[in-house]
Amino acid sequence: MYRMWVTQARGRSEMTMSTYLEAGRRAVMEEMQRDASVWALGEDLGRGGVFGQYKGLQEMFGEGRIADTPISEACIMGAAVGAAMTGTRPIVEMRFSDFALCAVDELVNQAAKARFMFGGQMRVPLVVREPVGMWRSSAAQHSQSLESWYTHIPGLVVVAPATPADNLGLLKASIRCDDPVVYMEHKNLWATEGEVPEGDYVVPLGKADVAREGRDVTIVTWSGMRHGCLKAAETLADAGIEAEVLDLRTLWPWDRDTVFESVGRTGRLLVVHEAVAVSGFGAEIAASVAEALHFRLKAPVARLGAPRIPIAYAPTMEDMARVSPEGIEAAVHKMMQPEDIS
């Protein structure tokens, strides 16, 4: 399913099939082999982590470097801050991004600000893995996409991979990054399969991926919605509309150059994300494009996100919070109307 973009992007590299979950596990394993200062801490890691992201790693690296911790989110994050200041590179496992809210002081007031407040005396090289997103019937405290909160905080890098190859390459880049990185994997993608390169594969932070090229409209997205956007783009192509799909991959910093170049060409921008639309990161992109490219736009910029409702348990109600491929198609069709239709 990802063959087209994979072959475009990788050229000579040997490919292997991997799940999104396994790609993340491989990233941690390779970075721990490469750098003895890398270690991971979080609940149930010795048993492989809640989703199996660390399976077998404690056997490989020992209890010191794959550390099982109490259910103490504040201390998991805070300890990682102290450990990062003391010459190690911790990978923090938060289980669910929803639970990471128990550790917001440690991330926002401590990790993100220490380097600045202390006048650049040190850095805080940590990665916090915070799985996000809806999967079936996990309700309001296990389904949220809170990435926009962290894009608001100076000092943090925010990453949201959507494919197995990106989960490998971006997680490796994040572990090597000297800044605190909020790394948001999508829970519904764990089983997704795709080709990943062999060898030491690192994806640079801050670069978008052109998931599909197109001339008529630019769809900017990330994380789980990449797949919904690609599905919608196929249907739109049948109707003669060629949508370009950009997967930002990194939300801070986001790849303005690629987005502006694309929208400058297509004249239309639709931003699609799973998070609540109000104050979602799509608002930042929409506003930036409107400021920079207003006179080149053929249609008003548009955003698609969830309504401002908590996520329900029952599928009938839960689906009300989902952005569907059909919804994306409808939004694009609306943007393709003649400009003078009003």
Partner: protein, 336 residues
């Protein structure tokens, strides 16, 4: 100068306690200059003086090596000086000037000096506890002989990170000394009224951590208890916990008159001033008054000179507001 309980100590190392007396004078002189500087508008934000609590800083940090790590609180000038930070750089930081400890980016509540193992004061009560725990965790992973000391106030024991950090330090047997500097007040509220059960030490003991409770205005007692605890921590015996009972002689901040404190209580503690008590002990041990007053004068004169130099230092470049934020997405490259 001779008021207060005089003490006679066995094996009293007079030169060592003269050094600690000098350090306590330096801390007090620093804070008195800072308070004066605030009245003149030189100190720009809030400062939280530790006047009356100097014995804790001196007694604990006097037993640490430079390579050891220490984390402090918003009331951290004393701890930071005792760990070896330069008073001139600190005063410049309080005045928001260039060449401050943190280049003018932190101010009083965010002083860190990694060169002397001072990993930061903290503006959030109790937030230093998990960070200290993590620093100790890293030291253990690295097989280091360094230890971490984490000093916090009595207010911190009512925050969740206190429990989380102490529990963590115990289960991982980390090389960390926790010091609760109990100055009686949580901001402007009496801590006793806000704390269930027997307080800090009882909570630490409930988590299996060995504790000692002591008179935090007696630097001789603090020094001896801290040395024993630090030796145990360094020997790999896991975390230790000290509660040092003391009293904040000022309000919560330098502009808080502290009118909620009964006058008699303040007066009683004034007679129990840790500097006065140590001077009395040194007199009993045969140190001449002239030497004691010379020590006091030398620190006060030196600190006045430091304050003058800090006042004459220029402001940091405004462009510094965009540096030291982050490498990836660096705002100094493109501020968005």
């Amino acid at each position: 100068m001779t008021e207060g309980p005089s003490q006679r100590h066995d094996n009293f190392d007079r030169e060592r306690f003269l050094d600690l007396l000098g350090l306590m004078h330096r801390i007090r002189a620093f804070e008195e200059e800072a308070i004066a500087g605030q009245k003149e508008g030189l100190v720009l934000g809030a400062i939280h003086p530790s006047i009356g609590q100097e014995a804790v800083a001196a007694g604990v940090c006097g037993n640490l090596e430079t390579a050891d790590l220490m984390l402090s609180t918003h009331r951290g000038h004393g701890h930071t000086l005792a760990k070896g930070a330069e008073p001139l750089a600190m005063m410049r930081e309080l005045f928001g000037r260039k060449d401050g400890t943190c280049g003018g980016k932190g101010g009083s509540m965010h002083i860190a000096d990694f060169g002397v193992g001072m990993l930061g004061a903290n503006g959030v009560v109790g937030a230093n506890i998990p960070i200290a725990t993590g620093a100790a965790h890293a030291l253990k992973l690295q097989g280091s002989r360094q230890i971490v000391t984490c000093i916090f106030g009595d207010g911190a024991v009512n925050r969740g990170p206190f429990m989380e950090g102490l529990n963590w330090a115990r289960i991982f047997d980390l090389p960390v000394l926790f010091v609760c500097e109990d100055n009686t007040f949580s901001a402007t509220t009496r801590t006793r009224e806000m704390t269930g059960g027997a307080g800090a030490a009882a909570r630490a003991e409930s988590l299996g951590i060995e504790t000692a409770e002591l008179d935090g205005n007696d630097v001789v007692a603090v020094d001896s208890a801290a040395r024993a605890a630090i030796d145990a921590v360094r020997a790999g015996q896991g975390p230790r916990f000290l509660t040092c009972h003391t009293y904040r002689m000022t309000g919560h901040t330098s502009v808080d008159p502290g009118a909620y404190r009964p006058a008699q209580e303040v007066e009683d503690w004034r007679r129990n001033d840790p500097i006065v008590r140590l001077e009395a002990a040194l007199q009993v041990a045969g140190i001449e008054d002239s030497r004691l007053s010379a020590l006091h004068r030398s620190e006060a004169v030196g600190m006045a000179e430091i304050a003058r130099t800090a006042r004459d230092t220029g402001w940091p470049e405004a462009a510094g507001a965009f540096t030291d934020v982050q490498d990836v997405g660096d705002p100094s490259e493109r501020a968005f």
